[in-house]
Symmetry: C2
Subunit: 250 residues, 2 copies
Amino acid sequence: MSILLEATALDDYKSQMNIAKSNLPKIEHAPQTLRDIVQERMRTAIIEGHFAPGERLIERPLCDQLGVSRTVVRETIRFLEAEGLVEIIPNRGPIVALLDWDQAVQIYEIREQLEGSAAAVCAQRYSGDFAKRLGEALAALNATMDDSEWIGVMRATTRFYEIIFTESGHSIAWDIVQRLNGRISRLRVLTLSAKDRPKPGMSHMTAIFEAIISRDADAARAAVEAHILDASTTAQRFLQDETKKAAGDV
Amino acid sequence: MSILLEATALDDYKSQMNIAKSNLPKIEHAPQTLRDIVQERMRTAIIEGHFAPGERLIERPLCDQLGVSRTVVRETIRFLEAEGLVEIIPNRGPIVALLDWDQAVQIYEIREQLEGSAAAVCAQRYSGDFAKRLGEALAALNATMDDSEWIGVMRATTRFYEIIFTESGHSIAWDIVQRLNGRISRLRVLTLSAKDRPKPGMSHMTAIFEAIISRDADAARAAVEAHILDASTTAQRFLQDETKKAAGDV
DNA sequence: TATGGTATGATGGTATACCAAGATATTGGG
DNA sequence: CCCAATATCTTGGTATACCATCATACCATA
């Protein structure tokens, strides 16, 4: 059964539509539309690697798998296209976006700037229970490092940075970073599941944490840069191995 | 007659569809789809201010004005939503995105970093006829400054930065900057058409040009930062005036 | 074997119908 | 005369059917 078919929010939505206003506890009814659900599901399916890069996304099968109309699927694809997660091949239709090393380098560089700034601003301005929350996120990240479930590590990492971006007030930069992360998700999977470097990643995150907490903006930025340099180096190794292997397979 | 109804590419497309393969010089047939045309047209209509911020974008009238089906319009809106040019109000539909000063500040800060980096990289690495091309772009920009057509100034400015980003190889950052510029287009219009500051803008651009040409990366970055600081200061003045006026109107 | 035609499948584009939710107008009762 | 309940209109969301085009694979014939 397809990953897209898991019976969850989509079915809830549909049954809710039919039942309509049968029960009253509809307060706080977040008007989550079908599109939102499908978007979210396809986005995570791509990011988590259930679709291979370059794989075609054929409309009607997707409709069948998701149980929604073409309209919804097409609008979703349009949205993901704008996000850079999907590319449109003229007269052939959408495919999962491909990623070459040049693009990856650019993305790491942009992340370096945006994450570095957010961390620096954070170090200067944080207040309230921010330190506590960031510490908890770091602890949670540390906990995920052991069970080596890359998906958990990725989510914990995201959570860690989300706290930083939120505290710094850089919501737009956070949007951009998340979108860029989606595009290099394949590389993140590779680096996160790399057996030979769970420790360096953790030490970098700890360094970022400590620099922010001690209100050292320059050190915070430097720590972020070190973290991303490490990640990009690891990613490069994998991507080039992969490229070589692909070249050999031909 | 609506801005959207200008008879141009859209009609060409449609008649081309019917004529089909009557004449052979169809080589280099850029497969521009209806969606692409509608997207481009609506994007520029929003950016150039033909739709007011907050204005509702009602599907069926748009279909009538553009002469296309709801599918095309809806997919276009989805794309522009992902671009941040359009917001969806639950149960009310899409509106032209609103912009508050907090968001604008964030956007200026991100632009500062991305444009600064591109200029710095450019200064270090430019080659070929880049200097000549950038000089021509600067001259073109200077020429537009006189006739005070803000649209021309905006395009020339975009062209100037496009050359920088292209030469630096930062294509993804350029995408991001362009998208961000779309979101603050209203502010750019205000600042560009400000009668009291055609000169400062030009002098900043000249400073950027000279710093890059003399391969001084630090100076280039500083010049970009000065330029954006100036732009954001001007923008802030306008936006706050506007806010005050709006408050007074209530 | 090579050429050309055909069948198939996928996409882009269009039209239409239906229902739900909001907004507005209307009308009836106090 | 005012308030409230109802009716109507508009819009958004969804689903479905249809056509034209493009690409590809297959097949038959020279």
